[in-house]
């Protein structure tokens, strides 16, 4: 229990630090959201008016304080740039709520691909006695792990999009319009995210299984007359999967972060692209919440992984 409280405090502390850092960064970055919105031709009076509307004329400390109290009350604020209708600005919560499904589905499809491909592959690899297969898989996974995701994205676009015409690059359909088409389009960016992770997971699973196979209980199981099949799937795989699950947890965190780049490559309107464009347009309310959100997800997933470790191996003590 004490451990959970400590972790919780750490989480809150971290989020606070991150929010202060992001706020400070926005004070330092050159560029002013008002000029960014109005361009170079607006009258000074109009600029002043907008500054007031956005509350930018108040001192920074007060602004930060107001922002924190609003967020704690559940009000995430409004975007400086995106409007909901012509009379009101888009609430940040709604804006992110709109883009988040794209990123989450991308992560989900990637994760499904990883699990569906990597686990059978890892098992096959561990069971196989063929040196040839071992060598091929060794090389293929090594190479896959060395490809940066954005290059993989370009390769996938070229191979599946331009040469094989499995999909039309840029023909993204919104999930609200056509969910099936949306998932179909996501398949290819997801593949770009998944390939290196599949290689890692398969290697990890294989090594984990090979270690298990040498364990004493395996010999005991065989001696008790268990079939090879039963030993493999009943004992070895189950035990070997535990560390793999935690490994997948880490991968989720990486996928969330990695989607920032992949969304850029495939032109997906997810939170990664929203973040990059919001940084460049100095849309502070959106940037702050997105950064906090991504940080939260990453820390939370690590936290879960940590707990899983503890569940699996109670010997782990705090370091």
């Amino acid at each position: 229990m004490k451990y959970f409280i400590k972790k919780l405090i750490t989480l809150i502390m971290t989020l606070f630090l991150v929010s202060v850092a992001a706020f400070l960064a926005f004070q330092i970055i050159p560029g002013d959201v008002v000029t960014s919105i109005l361009g170079t031709e607006a009258t000074p009076e109009r600029e002043e008016q907008l500054r007031e509307e956005l509350g930018l004329n108040k001192p920074p400390v007060e602004r930060y304080f107001n922002w924190v109290t609003d967020v704690l009350r559940g009000d995430l604020g409004e975007s400086y740039r995106f409007s909901k209708s012509m009379n009101e600005m888009m609430p940040v919560a709604e804006l992110i709520g709109d883009k988040l499904p794209v990123t989450l589905w991308l992560a989900a499809v990637s994760l499904v691909l990883i699990i569906v491909i990597a686990i059978p592959l890892g098992v096959l690899w561990a069971r196989s006695s063929s040196h040839f297969l071992d060598a091929v898989l060794g090389v293929v996974t090594q190479v896959s792990m060395a490809v940066p995701s954005f290059f993989l994205g370009i390769l996938v676009t070229y191979l599946f999009g331009i040469l094989l015409k499995f999909f039309a690059p840029g023909s993204y359909v919104s999930y609200q319009e056509d969910f099936g088409g949306f998932l179909k389009y996501l398949l290819f960016p997801a593949l770009s995210i998944a390939i290196p992770k599949i290689a890692m997971t398969a290697r990890f699973l294989r090594n984990s299984m090979l270690t298990e196979l040498q364990a004493d209980y395996v010999r005991t199981a065989y001696s008790k007359g268990c079939t090879k099949r039963r030993v493999m799937y009943g004992h070895v795989l189950r035990n070997a999967m535990m560390p793999v699950v935690t490994f997948l947890g880490m991968i989720i965190a990486e996928i969330v972060a990695g989607s920032i780049v992949i969304e850029q490559v495939f032109g997906l309107p997810g939170i990664g692209r929203l973040l990059i464009s919001s940084i460049s347009t100095r849309d502070f309310p959106v940037v702050e919440i997105l950064i906090l959100y991504i940080t939260f997800v990453v820390i939370f997933v690590y936290f879960l992984v940590d707990i899983l470790y503890r569940v699996i191996d109670p010997r782990i003590s705090e370091v």
């Binding site: 050159p30 000029t35 960014s36 012509m86 840029g170 993204y172």
Partner: protein, 511 residues
């Protein structure tokens, strides 16, 4: 409309295409321009960015104004040759001293809500943009309006502070119903050929035909849908898939891809691209160094490399499409590199051993970034060691445009139809003079040009101003890049304007 906007999105996807140039203005020369117009139907136009405001007086983005052109009209409006034609006003006169404008309203011009435009509406609209209404001027050039008086039910008289023959170009400001300013964002009402139907953020805006439009016979189309496309890539796909019919900002490779299936046309943009030099920053405060840079550049090859050869080379701040006022000064520094001359001038200025130059470029403009790479390479020949510093657009606005903390930058300045507009910014004290150009002769001549009511005198003065800017090497002006537009082959009547306008009123289906 009287507003130059430092190039927003257009140059991002600035297009290039060999062998398909037109002179940039006038009607589309598609192979079916002779076909009979068919009334009715709807057209989907792909646009690059979301609308920033539906209030015509508050909209600043070029991408918004090119759409609002269809909904709103001013007392006057621009045509495809850059001239003004009467719109809500059927006639106007300007007093000898240039201080009083008298507009006669056109008979029976109706707002989209069915009401006839009255002098009250005109008075309200002009007072709103000039700040007389609530102290906040919305269009800076109209701040000079001192009073708007209604003389009779068809005549409005506008009194201004100081004479300026180009002020008339600012009367393109939209006329909206009296008192409707508060509602303009939610329910925009104008007098244009199309009326507002709906707007969905990040999706687009839908307009329908205004059956009461004062120009009889126009528009042809029943409905126009401006649809936001996610990326230039998806624009091409949507064109090919038939979900959009017109798209105006193609890149080179895209234009070539579409050439078979679409009418793809190059037209001159209203952007002046230049290597802007900060005249107040050493060593560029020495005119010889600036001239050396002008000599060192090979504008032809810049145009070839980044513009597919479709751009128009310029040497001063005037659009060649503004034919009456433009003077060709390309002989001054030549359109190819003159390295000898450049080195000579540098040596004279004390930089015989070369010099360092930092060029800041807004990184979101691929076109400018690529130009930068070519420029750096060309300057190297003359012993100028230039480096590129990519900056974000927001940073560019803040540090370079407003802060003027830079040596050189590559960017574009856009122009409306007012010929003096680009020249105005280079007055020593202009707020927009971000290159810190300082030339007393220029300032005096500009004021003179503004004051004169004699058109020929004015044209001569503008020619002289362009010459001074060029000879004094205020900056190294490069080119007016081309826009590439793809149009469905079954459509005709699309007009290219020298300003940001997507005029849908003359577009029609041929079958």
């Amino acid at each position: 409309m009287k507003r130059i906007r430092i190039l927003l999105t257009a140059l991002l996807t600035m297009a290039v295409l060999g062998g398909c140039g037109s002179d940039g203005t006038g009607e589309s020369s598609g192979d079916n321009s002779s076909k009979e117009p068919v009334y009715g139907g709807s057209v989907v136009v792909g646009i690059q960015q979301d609308i920033d405001s539906l209030d015509p007086h508050k909209a600043t983005a070029a991408g918004t104004k090119e759409i609002l052109f269809n909904i709103f009209e001013g007392l006057v409006k621009p045509d495809e040759n850059g001239n003004l034609i009467n719109a809500v006003a059927s006639d106007y006169t300007i007093s000898e001293d240039g201080l009083v404008y008298t507009f006669t309203l056109r008979e029976n011009v109706k707002f989209h809500n069915g009401n006839v435009v009255t002098c009250e509406d005109v008075k309200y609209s002009l007072e709103r943009v000039s700040g007389l209404l609530d102290g906040t001027p919305l269009i800076s050039t109209l701040k000079v309006i001192q009073a708007v008086d209604i003389l009779d039910d068809k005549t409005v008289q506008v009194t201004v502070e100081s004479a300026n023959t180009e002020l008339i170009y600012s009367f393109v400001a939209a006329i909206i119903p009296a008192g409707s300013g508060e509602d303009a964002e939610a329910d925009p009402i104008g007098t244009g050929p199309f009326s507002y139907v709906s707007y969905t953020p990040q999706v687009g805006i839908v307009l329908k035909k205004n059956p009461d439009y004062w120009q009889t016979g126009l528009p042809y189309l029943d409905e126009v849908n401006f649809k936001i496309v996610n990326s230039p890539d998806s624009a091409v796909l949507e064109l090919q898939g038939g979900t959009i019919d017109i798209y105006a900002y193609l890149t080179d490779s895209q234009a070539q891809e579409l050439q078979e299936t679409f009418n793809v046309e190059a037209s001159a943009s209203n952007v002046v691209q230049a290597l802007f030099l900060n005249n107040a920053a050493a060593p560029l405060d020495d005119v010889r160094v600036r001239q050396a840079i002008c000599y060192a550049l090979d504008k032809d090859s810049i145009n070839d490399f980044v513009g597919g050869g479709n751009g128009t080379i310029i040497s001063s701040a005037m659009l060649p499409t503004l034919k009456d006022n433009y003077v060709d000064l390309n002989d001054t520094y030549g359109t190819t590199a003159n390295v000898e001359k450049a080195k000579e001038l540098l040596a004279e200025a004390g930089y015989g051993d070369g010099l360092e130059l930092e060029i800041a470029i807004p990184s979101n403009y691929e076109f400018h970034m690529q130009t930068g790479e070519v420029v750096v390479e060309q300057l190297k020949e003359a012993g100028i060691n230039a480096t590129i510093k990519a900056v974000e657009w927001s940073t560019w606005l803040d540090e370079i445009y407003n802060g003027r903390q830079y040596q050189a930058t590559i960017s574009g300045i856009t122009c409306d139809t007012t010929p003096g507009y680009l020249l105005n910014r280079f007055q020593t004290d202009s707020k927009k003079n971000f290159i810190n150009f300082a030339n007393a002769e220029y300032d005096a001549l500009y004021l003179e040009a503004q004051a004169t009511l004699d058109i020929q005198k004015k044209i001569d003065a503008y020619a002289q101003l362009q010459r001074i800017l060029c000879d004094d090497a205020g900056s190294a002006f490069l080119q007016v890049p081309a826009n590439m537009t793809a149009i469905n082959k079954k459509l005709s009547g699309y007009k290219f304007y020298p300003v940001y306008v997507q005029d849908m009123s003359t577009v029609f289906w041929t079958e």
